[in-house]
């Protein structure tokens, strides 16, 4: 009863037909959705009978997919700030050969620069300070500052031909998370929650974790609106899991109150709500009762999933020393795996600090060290548990960086400005051809 109501309510509020009518591309535009599986609530599930059986195992709005789904969940390791493809994945030896030469007009072709370098007199080309080697059966070029990533070369698919329109952080990140440069639209995780529903009863379908990089500790901000539900139901909001006293906002019972007292309070709330239901006959009251039970379950399920104390030593060794420090990227990667095991639909991580306008060599080395081991560990860990088959892992930022130095180029120092027209990300998981490197069709960074 209660769930049916929730589902009906959702169907009423956001029915598929009006969705199709409203969006110019129609549902055909949800390319990603066809990669993703969806489990639908069984009509005769025991959960659908009991009034006080809440469930977030809710059917999404889509009632079927056009192609069999290969992926059930997504882990998006967002690298915020614009990681330099030239120091990570996009091997450009010619840039080293032509170091210091001014960027030729034949390459720039009058393209837009940001206001931060458009005033420079010269645009001296600069290659990577770090070496590159090829790894894997289908050799992929990977930088020396990503030694652990190199070890999973056969499991990842590097894409060196990424392109985006936006050239500044806010519009670029907002585009990657919502499909629009201007804020106001639902984020990708909210869409998936809306379209495909949730597979876990006790955890939100869309979770978010943040970490701050050591490459540039104070750099570009994030915005909670990046995981906002836009115009969708707030049920589809990303729920932030934090390395704080309250791992989810308002999760902990008030101080001075034990579980037993809270349980008793909840029982009385339910009883009084039941009386109101008898009086008013409004099915929404049943739904309220169910949501309170769900909240109660989250009070156990969230701390459970976030308590990594029982992870064996070899796991900590895989993810690295940082994995024991809550709030680091490594700790968040380990949590991402635990959430994936619980079938959380969309697990969004953000790692800040990839905005190397200056002092790039030293800063990016630190920044790479923050994420290299744990990112690779996550892929290996998912693989050894058989989860990589139906998980899509995405690693990347909002744009890349210029092939010329921002500021003065010295013997061991340079910076790079934003560059949206060619940059790198990688993905891993079942839907992809592992070990594949997608090269730019036309390179504008002199290869």
């Amino acid at each position: 009863m209660s769930e049916k109501k929730i589902i009906d309510e959702r169907a009423l509020l956001l029915n598929r037909r009006s969705f199709l009518g409203k969006s110019a591309m129609g549902i055909g535009g949800v390319g990603l959705a066809s990669l993703l599986g969806s489990s639908f609530l069984e009509p005769n599930s025991p959960l659908s009978a009991g009034a006080a059986s809440p469930s977030a195992t809710l059917k999404g709005i889509l009632d079927g997919l056009h192609h069999p789904a290969k992926v059930k969940r997504v882990i998006y390791l967002f690298q915020s700030g614009g990681p330099s493809q030239l120091e990570l994945f996009d091997y450009k030896p010619l840039l080293n050969k032509r170091r210091g030469e001014d960027l030729p007009d034949s390459i720039r072709k009058g393209q837009r620069l940001t206001g931060m370098t458009s005033g420079q007199d010269t645009f001296p080309l600069v290659g990577s300070q770090f070496g590159f080697k090829q790894y894997g059966n289908n050799p992929a070029w990977i930088s020396d500052i990503l030694p652990y990533t190199a070890k999973v070369a056969d499991d990842i698919c590097v894409i060196n031909s990424m392109h985006t329109e936006a050239i500044n952080h806010d519009p670029a990140v907002t585009f990657f998370q919502t499909g629009s440069q201007q804020p106001g639209r639902p984020s990708i995780g909210s869409w998936l929650s809306y379209g495909l529903g949730s597979e876990n009863e006790n955890l939100p379908a869309f979770t978010v974790m943040l970490s701050r990089g050591t490459g540039r500790p104070l750099s570009q901000p994030l915005y909670t609106r990046l995981w906002g539900n836009g115009f969708l139901h707030s049920l589809h909001q990303g729920v932030q899991f934090r390395a704080a006293k309250d791992p989810v906002l308002y999760l902990n019972d008030p101080e001075g109150m034990n579980k037993s007292a809270k349980r008793s309070m909840l029982d009385h709330i339910a009883a009084l709500n039941e009386s109101a239901y008898t009086d008013f006959g409004d099915p929404e009251i049943q739904s309220r009762i169910a949501q309170y039970e769900m909240a109660y379950k989250m009070q156990t399920s969230v701390p459970d999933v976030m308590d990594t104390a029982n992870e064996p030593d070899y796991i900590y060794k895989m993810y690295g020393a940082d994995a024991k420090i809550p709030g680091t990227f490594a700790a968040n990667c380990l949590l991402a795996r635990r959430l994936a095991e619980k079938d959380v639909r969309f697990i969004q991580l953000y790692h800040m600090g990839w905005d190397q306008h200056d002092s790039l060599p030293s800063a990016i080395a630190r920044q790479a060290k923050d994420v290299d081991q744990a990112s690779a560990a996550l892929i290996m860990d998912l693989k050894q548990r058989g989860l990589l088959e139906d998980t899509l892992v995405v690693w990347g930022g909002e744009f890349g960086r210029t092939n010329y130095s921002q500021g003065t180029l010295t013997a061991d120092n340079y910076g790079r400005d934003h560059h949206p027209r060619c940059f790198s990300i990688y993905m891993a998981g079942a839907a992809l051809s592992p070990g594949f490197t997608e090269k730019p069709m036309i390179s504008d960074t002199t290869s």
Partner: protein, 768 residues
């Protein structure tokens, strides 16, 4: 790579009120174009055969009779529609065709017609394929009021509502219990609950004027003005920060104070809107009129180094254009930015004609200094605040220093208007043809007599022949009191919007609004005096069966309270609420670290959340500081709009995160304790104390069974405390307000826990 759903619509999926599908539905005898045919054509056909000239396939357009009846094909020998002749109409053949190459809509469009829908179209052609214009784009006509019945329904509203029931087999619900009615009225009009004493007094007052007296008292209150203003802040996308990247603080609260003032004065709607649209252009404009134009500067503004200023300046003008269209016309104007509108008769040229009204500010796309206030702005001096702007609640540290001013962004046109061009695909640096100020012809032509500026646009808006302004406004008022507008898509009155459930009532209200000189309180009074409004919200199985969505209003809706009201009513019940009106926004409790963990170090005053102290913790939620990139989380959980864009309608969800807020937010726990204190001070026996709590929170007097439940609840809490499951000292110290140590006893703590429980009830956060 990843594909995203990209659509030009910012308002998203919306509910269709009038269902046109369903396998076993009986075909109507007489097909009506507006109600039966057009929803099908608009939804399945207009994408390729509709108003967008550049998207038309096979030279066939189906949105006008002329287009639909035209000869087609190389030899001009075929016709999509031949009235009365389905056999000669290729439309009929193609929609019934099973040949994939022939069938319409084509399979690859992922659009399909049900058998019922095909039959509708066929019968429509048989009956002559008559076209009617879109209802919302023809001016309202005052309808005849259906006959009244002495037994129920004294007002015209009731006559229109009851008229529909006869078709449906529905009848009126009894009037709501007096206490619940007063709670409903008080919450709806003021956003605060009635006090238990008020509830009891109302029950005791049998005089026929009792209800009207309350309505008049509430409408005259400043709480009412604030409650109206709170909704307007969502429409106007008000915020205390600029909204992009580092998200610096801005000062727009004096504009918000003006909105409260305008509602307090019951300013007529035409004046209210004209001041905001064009106050600066009114001859000899006062500072009040200029301040009101801050409405059009509430959009986001970027300070992110490196952006192309013109790209963002165009975004700001777009935002004003779209806000104007959504708020006042109920049109999705943003859909005509890159191409002609796919569903509504708005060309891309007309989009930019409207855009040109808002394109004449000497403003920057990129503001580079964080201390710079984006021009144009108005400086409010101490003299203004002592005089014409007395409603601005300036803090003392400003008023002390005579020289200091408060600078608020406003509208001001340049002496020579900027040239406006159609932007190819809506892109800032691709101007094509030059355009001049104008409005969509199909709505209402922009008269040559009008000045070609925002003041002329305001006059156009309130022209008697404008078909949308009054309807859109009364529909939004209706939505306040019934949860859903008579047009459920209050943000879209176009072809893809819902049809009105009660078109005659909508027009009656629209024309009445104009006849009453746009008097908003008079309209509110009209609505709340109807018997429709006063009905009980109790649901019977028959009513649930016949009308699950309550479209036909044979009962009052139960509505979950807004994010603002849920917090404010808890504060009000507790006695903690500080009723100061206006002034700079404040920072109540918020979980630690939320701003800090997302800041890049910039942001200045918005890099870290510095919680306020004293009265700042207990102001109404409309005064809570709104950082646009990291809004107050408890408000978002209860569906507050993000303030990124104009929002005229917010959903009412029911989620576990809401339960967590009500159970564990210190604001609520502290309020529960305050409420328990109120109860203790005003009542001597435990029974009376419990009754007080129940009445305060739910608006009902407990019945015998409730009394048992309350007694059991309290006894259980005493037991929990005795068993040390609750530590009174710690529990009672949540929040900044202090409890005397003499109160740290079992009985008071149990009463506080009881109040805490009651603040979590569905009835408490719902107005019945």
């Amino acid at each position: 790579m990843l594909l995203f759903v990209v659509s030009c619509n910012q308002n998203g999926p919306t509910e269709k009120t009038v269902s046109i599908s369903g396998p076993n539905k009986q075909l109507p005898e007489q097909i009506d174009f507006t109600f039966h045919v057009k929803p099908i054509l608009s939804d399945r056909c207009f994408k390729c055969h509709g108003p967008d000239k550049n998207a038309i396939e096979a030279k066939l357009s189906l949105h006008t009779a002329e287009g639909a009846y035209a000869a087609l094909g190389e030899h001009l020998d075929r016709f999509a529609i031949v009235p009365f002749e389905p056999a000669k109409s290729t439309l009929v053949g193609r929609i019934f065709s099973e040949d994939e190459a022939e069938m319409m809509p084509p399979p690859e469009s992922n659009l399909a017609l049900t058998t019922y829908e095909k039959e509708i179209l066929k019968r429509w052609v048989e009956q002559g394929a008559e076209y009617k214009t879109h209802w919302a784009f023809d001016a309202p006509v005052k309808p005849e009021i259906p006959e009244l019945d002495a037994s129920w329904g004294a007002t015209p509203i009731d006559a229109f509502i009851r008229n529909k029931w006869q078709e449906m087999g529905l009848s009126a619900s009894p009037e709501a219990e007096k206490t619940l009615l007063l709670r409903r009225l008080t919450l709806d009009l003021t956003g605060l609950p009635p006090r238990p004493e008020e509830l009891k007094a109302f029950v005791a007052d049998d005089s026929p004027e009792a209800y009207t007296k309350v309505v008049d008292r509430l409408l005259a209150s400043v709480d009412h003005a604030e409650h109206m203003a709170a909704e307007w802040m969502s429409v106007a996308r008000y915020a205390d920060t600029h909204g992009y990247q580092d998200d610096f603080e801005r000062i727009m609260w004096p504009w918000r104070d003006w909105v409260i003032h305008a509602f307090k004065e019951n300013m007529p709607y035409d004046e209210f809107v004209t001041y905001q649209l064009a106050g600066d252009l009114i001859p000899n404009a006062t500072k009040e009129q200029i301040l009101a134009t801050g409405f059009n500067r509430n959009h986001k503004i970027t300070y992110e180094g490196g952006v192309i200023p013109e790209e963002y300046r165009v975004e700001y003008v777009e935002d004003r254009t779209n806000t104007f269209s959504t708020a006042f016309l109920g049109l999705t104007m943003e859909c005509a930015r890159c191409h002609d509108h796919k569903y509504d008769p708005i060309s891309q040229e007309e989009h930019f004609e409207l855009f040109s009204f808002f394109n004449n500010l000497d403003e920057k796309g990129l503001v580079s200094d964080k201390n710079e206030i984006p021009a144009p702005y108005l400086s409010l001096t101490q003299e203004d605040i002592d005089g014409v702007l007395a409603f601005v609640n300036a803090p003392e540290n400003t008023t002390d220093q005579k020289a200091k001013t408060i600078d608020v962004m406003v509208m001001k046109d340049m002496s020579a208007p900027r040239d406006t061009y159609i932007l190819n695909r809506g892109v800032y640096n691709q101007p094509t043809e030059k355009v001049f100020p104008g409005t969509p012809d199909r709505i209402l032509e922009f008269s040559d007599e009008l000045p070609k500026n925002r003041l002329g646009l305001a006059e156009w808006l309130f022209d008697e022949k404008n078909p949308l302004t009054a309807r859109v406004a009364v529909n939004r008022l209706w939505q306040r009191f019934f949860g859903v507008g008579l047009v459920s898509t209050s943000d879209d009155f176009g072809n893809q919007g819902s049809l009105p459930t009660h078109p005659e009532l909508l027009d009656y209200l629209a024309i009445t609004f104009r006849e009453k000189a746009w008097d908003m309180n008079a309209m509110i009074s009209l609505i709340v005096h109807s018997d429709t409004y006063k009905q009980s919200s109790k649901l019977t199985p028959e009513k649930l069966e016949i009308d699950p969505e309550n479209k036909w209003l044979s009962r009052a809706p139960r509505l979950r309270l807004s994010a603002e009201v849920i917090r404010d009513q808890a504060l009000a019940m507790s006695g903690l609420l500080v009723k100061e009106v206006g002034g700079p926004s404040v920072k109540p409790y918020q979980p630690d670290g939320l701003w800090k963990e997302t800041t890049g170090g910039g942001g200045g005053s918005t890099a870290r959340y510095v919680q306020g102290s004293g009265s700042e913790l207990y102001r109404k939620s409309m005064y809570t500081f709104w950082k646009r990139t990291v809004p107050p989380p408890s408000m978002l959980s209860f569906d507050a709009s993000s303030r990124d864009l104009c929002t005229v309608k917010t959903p009412q969800t029911n989620t576990p995160l809401q339960a967590l807020v009500l159970l564990n937010d210190p604001q609520i726990i502290e309020a529960a304790r305050g409420l328990a204190q109120q109860s203790l001070h005003k009542n001597n026996t435990l029974e009376d104390q419990l009754e007080y709590l129940y009445l305060a929170t739910t608006g009902s007097l407990p019945d015998a069974s409730n009394r048992k439940q309350l007694t059991a609840l309290h006894a259980e809490m005493v037991d929990q405390i005795t068993r040390k499951e609750v530590d009174p000292e710690t529990y009672l110290s949540v929040g900044n307000s202090k409890v005397e140590s003499s109160m740290q006893n079992t009985s008071f703590t149990a009463l506080a826990l009881t109040a805490h429980t009651l603040l979590n009830l569905d009835q408490t956060i719902t107005r019945s």
